[in-house]
Symmetry: C2
Subunit: 483 residues, 2 copies
């Protein structure tokens, strides 16, 4: 059970609300990120399936409660009293959860998950929701970038050995597949999540035999239908020549060498040479897989150098999102109300405008033009509504505005979908291959400039005019109060 | 069960060995890393407890075997045959495992784990061992660096929300504690691993009440014995003044405000101001906790600026090892033998000397001078032995040599300890607090210059002379063969 997979302060706050008479207050929280990862132009949402599982199984069992009862404060007295532990024991989540489906293209400030309901329930979900969404979204985004660099050629995820914990590996494999990868080396991820698994042999295989050629012969004889030969254990091009000899023999037997793999050295130079060796041996259909600390930038550079790699194995840099190993997702209070009261809109003030939160009960609407290309996203408040004629205002540059009128748009889509209603699951998690397909289709809805690695197009996302004005008003009020 | 937590190629190689008559060959593999992480001068080994658990529970259950039976190759035929699956079903590990205990200070090239036994068993363990050791070693090292910057003041790990999967968070909390942290916010890690858990409240607590002062009053009344007040929801120094008022009231009641927390803004400036406010209110014992994207470099800089923070909350940058989110640990074949045969020493050749592996059945011996300071580590081969008078030769600069003679050293220690013998666990995992203590004691054995962040001292690690010469000879032979 993972109910205790939370920061202690969620429990001390829950206890505080319980003791302070706020146990029946309701709240709205939004989970969103502030900056696109990897200095990119978008993110791909992932991790919802995991969040759903955690919410569905959210209960404090005896072991959890015993542990919480054992915790002491600084004065060595029990941290929580019996009444509160009794409350936790009986606690059943009754929140409403709305979220963007996995594989949705999303942008900073847009709620990926919205939780509405009992304040304590909302607070207790904060950490597991952030943990469930932040990392998979990061990896799905990274994978989509790598696949973009590979221009449609298959990208395989090989990161388990360097992943951050076993679940870091499993989660990465799943998210990488949603982001567009063709498969993983991680067998358990294959079993759990129905992802294609791939892999052939390592250098140790070659070293286990008296000679490289013998190791190749043995491998193709043992694995007739899965033959990628690793060519660089001793001398790469010699290895390729030996693999080509094996390929010719297989052909004579009516079989086929699926590919070779290059795992070190100058992959541009070596792959071009290897392609020639294979082609001259009549093995035009034998693939060349490249691996060795690849990421989207190295793949793009190899492509520019006309490298002849056509299958990409990507490990560490993908599974850990090496150049930015965390998404800056946060979970902020938008509104609160006492039982039978009115919603009071809330924001967290910051000296930086970018770190002040947006008050309200938010949704996001995405507008398309007549060519079905997305033109702007509008974050609006459910109570203020989404007028037919309004403006979308950039939160950080209010002179950047987009007019929305009944006639200027041809269609729109609501990004948040209902997931739980009053604690009950109302959402069917799609098969993972559908989430992967969704990523591909979603990315096609945008101008390709958002995918550019260097200075990508900044897709317009803003607040609906009334919400923008309300936010500004609340910030000014809060600053006045705080001064 | 996590037996399938492996790369597919381990299974295809196992199948290959099985089909090629190598199923009773024995091998020796070493798990080591090539470069100290974070451009530092050392690493702290961690993750062994997890590795032991995985080895102890290593078996293919029906679900695993059914899944493997379902896998198809490129020609759509079954990847593995029934005989092999039957073999896996009956497989019980019989390997010998030696490893460095958690909390040991280690250096590049030194085996952290050595596996000796059936070739297939060794191969099947590769990925889970790498996954078990790489990430915890990285995080324990990061934590020890952050604790070093904090100069003995408590460092709390707060990284769960940005961690790489739920287990990324759990593993990070455990390893951070071994590396020297004083506690974690992660309640499940506290429960599982017996780590102190810490935490108070978030901005949302303050926002949930009509005013900041009311939120503080409610919190100290609900949580009499665990009061760190978060001061920066609206205006930091105003928040501190309000917290000080609360502190004075508590004092009048014979109670005590444990601390305040600053989570944004200029922590140097704000903490100095906050300290003055608290001191003037007679709250000299009220701590100031700092958090907000801290790492060892920012803490060191804050220390230089005389920041008055005395408790450090470190999240994302620690739990993901943000500036280098993966250790480059590898698992390399050192020797192989046929049943009843002699050991054949093996190495993986690389154009870069640093990436060529070391052959043999390796151990590491650490030598100390008369002041009990470690002076050099010697990697030696069990069969070649460790002569009483020899030289330790740097692998990458053979002119760098250290003479070892019976008289020049006063003591030494073997780094590898027996963990499994013929598949049976012979090691008692120490309590986690002992592993944490070991880290502290181990670091005290070295000259402090290895802990320096910029250009740390490069502690001497080399090969015993006979082993060095054997390695050179085998590299030259392999290059000749490969050319």
């Amino acid at each position: 059970m993972k109910t205790l997979l939370t920061d202690l302060y969620q429990l001390t706050m829950a206890y505080g609300y319980f003791r302070s008479g706020l146990m029946n207050h309701e709240a709205v929280f939004h989970l969103f990120f502030r900056r696109n990862p990897f200095q990119g132009g978008y993110a791909v949402a992932a991790g919802l399936a995991n969040a759903i599982e955690l919410i569905e199984n959210f209960r404090f069992d005896k072991g959890d409660l015993d542990y919480l009862a054992s915790l002491k404060g600084d004065d060595n007295k029990a941290l929580f009293d019996k009444e509160f532990l009794q409350y936790l024991k009986k606690l059943k989540l009754t929140v409403d959860v709305d979220a963007v489906p996995e594989g949705t293209v999303v942008f900073p400030q847009e709620p990926l998950i919205r939780i509405k309901g009992n304040l304590i329930h909302c607070q207790l979900l904060e950490t597991i929701l952030l943990n469930s969404i932040n990392f998979p979204t990061l990896i799905a985004t990274k994978a989509s970038r790598i696949c973009y660099a590979a221009k449609g050629e298959p990208v395989l995820e090989f990161g388990l050995r360097r992943a951050q914990g076993f679940d870091g590996g499993l989660t990465a494999s799943r998210a990488a597949y949603i982001g567009g990868c063709a498969g993983t080396s991680n067998v358990l991820a294959g079993k759990y999540y129905d992802i294609p698994v791939k892999g052939t042999h390592a250098h140790s295989w070659v070293m286990a035999f008296p000679s490289e050629i013998e190791s190749f012969e043995r491998f193709v004889s043992a694995m007739p239908n899965n033959c990628y030969l690793l060519a660089d254990t001793y001398n790469t091009l010699e290895g390729v020549r030996k693999a080509a000899k094996i390929g010719i023999k297989l052909k004579q037997q009516g079989r086929h060498l699926a590919g070779i793999r290059l795992d070190s050295g100058d992959l541009a130079y070596l792959s071009i040479k290897a392609r020639k060796i294979l082609d001259q041996a009549g093995l035009k259909n034998t693939h060349i897989m490249g691996s060795n600390d690849l990421d989207e930038h190295i793949i793009a550079s190899l492509k520019e150098q006309k490298a002849k790699i056509d299958v990409w194995g990507v490990g560490t840099k993908l599974a850990t999102a090496f150049d930015q190993p965390a998404l800056d997702g946060v979970y902020k209070l938008g509104a609160i109300r006492a039982p039978k009261g009115k919603w009071a809109y809330k924001l967290k003030l910051s000296e930086q405008n970018a770190k002040s939160s947006t008050p309200g009960i938010l949704r996001t609407r995405r507008f398309f033009n007549r060519n079905h290309t997305a033109i702007a996203d509008c974050i609006y408040d459910e109570q203020l509504g989404m007028p037919e004629n309004t403006q979308i205002i950039d939160m950080f540059d209010p002179t950047r505005r987009i007019k929305i009128s009944k006639t200027s748009k041809s269609e729109h889509e609501e990004l948040l979908h209902p997931i739980f209603k009053h604690g009950k699951n109302v959402y069917k998690i799609p098969a993972i291959i559908q989430s992967r397909q969704r990523t591909i289709e979603q990315l096609d809805l945008f101008h390709p400039a958002i995918r550019r690695f260097l200075n990508p197009h900044s897709y317009p996302v803003g607040l609906e005019k009334n919400l923008y004005e309300l936010r500004t008003e609340l910030i000014l009020k809060a600053r006045e109060m705080a001064a």
